[in-house]
Structure formats: structure tokens, C-alpha cells
């Protein structure tokens, strides 16, 4: 017995998790996108007065709302991928791991959606 993988699965390179380097790659892609976005949001918010009217008119600028949607999406996608690795590394009990992954994935999805919807509501709403 020397070979358990078929030539096809070998050339596909997807491994036993069936997704190859997808997780690794998406973690890096979201990280790259976040480099300019983090600098932008950090210094923009620092320069902005904190009152409601100023924030709303700032978010309503088309470029700002577009970048904010991108930021919230990238943040929670990156967070989901990162939390997944931490949970997989440190939670050894299989059932507890599955439950924690479920909660973490759902939380990232929900807060990502809430964040994006909030930006859109401010952008399109009164």
C-alpha cells in the first residue's frame, strides 16, 4: 500500500478537507484589502466630530458608504476565518468545537449583515 489518493484528487490538490488552500488564500486576500481600509477608517474617524449629524452626512457620501460596506464585509469575513483557526487549534473536544464554530460563524455573519444594512440605511435613508 503506497498510494491512497487517486491521480485526479492528487492533481486537484484539495486534500482531505476538500478545500485545499482556499481558507489560507481568503484569509490573505481579506487581509490585503483591509490594509488600506483600516488606515482609512482609523484616521477618518479620528478626524471626524462624533455628533450624529456629522456622522450621517459623512456616511452618506457615495465613496464613504461604498468603502464602509467593503470594510464591514472584509472585517467579518476575516474575523470568521481567523476565529475558525483559533477554535480549531485550541478546542479539542469535537462536539464543543462544532458548537463553537457554529456560534462564531453565525455571529460573524449576523454582525456583518447588521453592519452592512446599517451603512445602507444611512446611505439611502433620511
Amino acid at each position: 500500500m503506497s498510494e491512497l489518493t487517486t491521480p485526479l484528487s492528487k492533481v486537484k490538490g484539495l486534500g482531505s478537507a476538500k478545500e485545499g488552500t482556499t481558507h489560507f488564500w481568503r484569509q490573505r486576500m481579506t487581509a490585503l484589502i483591509l490594509i488600506p481600509l483600516v488606515l482609512w477608517i482609523g484616521f477618518s474617524l479620528a478626524a471626524l466630530p462624533v455628533d450624529h449629524a456629522t456622522l450621517v452626512s459623512w456616511v452618506q457620501q457615495p465613496l464613504v458608504s461604498m468603502l464602509l460596506v467593503l470594510l464591514v464585509g472584509a472585517v467579518f469575513y476575516h474575523a470568521q476565518l481567523g476565529l475558525q483557526v483559533v477554535i480549531e487549534d485550541y478546542v479539542s473536544s469535537h462536539s464543543r468545537r462544532t458548537v463553537m464554530l457554529l456560534i462564531s460563524n453565525l455571529m460573524c455573519l449576523i454582525f456583518g449583515i447588521v453592519g452592512i444594512l446599517s451603512v445602507l440605511k444611512i446611505a439611502f435613508g433620511a
Binding site: 490573505r28 482609523g42 479620528a46
Partner: protein, 128 residues
């Protein structure tokens, strides 16, 4: 510790002083988790702003309190630490910076840049 068998014991991980790179590695994960929690608060703030001025006002006022400022400072510093440390990881991903001297240098550079970015952000906020 009372070792009855007098057998030699391998020192536990906690006995060693972690090298800076190892310390930064675990800090990267810790700041990652802190950032998720902080981001959830930021989304909450954003949702409040989308709702009304009445729900946004009291929440943002909390950020002005001493604990709000502590949270904000911790969040921003964690953000820039994770940011700089992440860029160091991206260089490693393309195979750069693995020499021991470089690794030590970039570890210090990451901490220095995170501090500088945090101070710069606070200066911008103070000026704005």
C-alpha cells in the same frame, strides 16, 4: 513541588521566557479576538446611528467616559498591533524575512509602528 520518584521532569512551557516573536504570535491571536469583540461594538454603534440620533447619542457619550476611553485606546492599539503584525505575516507568506536577525528586527518594528500609529490617531483626533 514534591517529586517522590526523583525522576527528571521536563520543564513546562510556562518556565521559559517566550522570545519576542513567540510573544507577538500569541498576541496576534489575542488582538484578533479583542478586535472581533470591538468590531461588534462598532457595528452596534453603527446600527444605533442608522436607527436615530436618540439611540446613537447616549452610546457615543459612553465612549467619552474614562472606561470608554480605555476601551477605545485598547481597541485602537490592538487594531494597529494586529495590523502591523499581520503585514509581517504577509511578508513571511511570500518567503521574506525569515533570518533570525530580521525576525527580531521586524518584531520590534511591529511594536514601534503600532505605538506610532496609535499616537498619530490620537493626535489627529485631538486636532480635529
Amino acid at each position: 513541588m514534591n517529586n517522590k520518584n526523583k525522576l527528571p521532569l521536563s520543564p513546562h512551557l510556562q518556565i521559559y521566557r517566550l522570545p519576542l516573536t513567540a510573544l507577538l504570535s500569541i498576541t496576534h491571536r489575542l488582538t484578533g479576538i479583542i478586535l472581533v469583540l470591538g468590531s461588534i461594538f462598532m457595528v452596534w454603534l453603527l446600527a444605533a446611528a442608522a436607527d436615530s440620533s436618540a439611540s446613537y447619542g447616549p452610546l457615543v457619550a459612553q465612549l467619552g467616559s474614562w472606561y470608554g476611553q480605555v476601551f477605545l485606546f485598547g481597541f485602537v492599539f490592538s487594531l494597529y498591533l494586529h495590523f502591523c503584525s499581520g503585514i509581517r505575516h504577509l511578508f513571511w507568506d511570500v518567503g521574506l524575512g525569515f533570518e533570525l536577525e530580521t525576525v527580531d528586527l521586524t518584531a520590534k518594528l511591529v511594536i514601534a509602528c503600532a505605538i506610532i500609529l496609535t499616537i498619530a490617531t490620537w493626535l489627529v483626533a485631538a486636532a480635529g
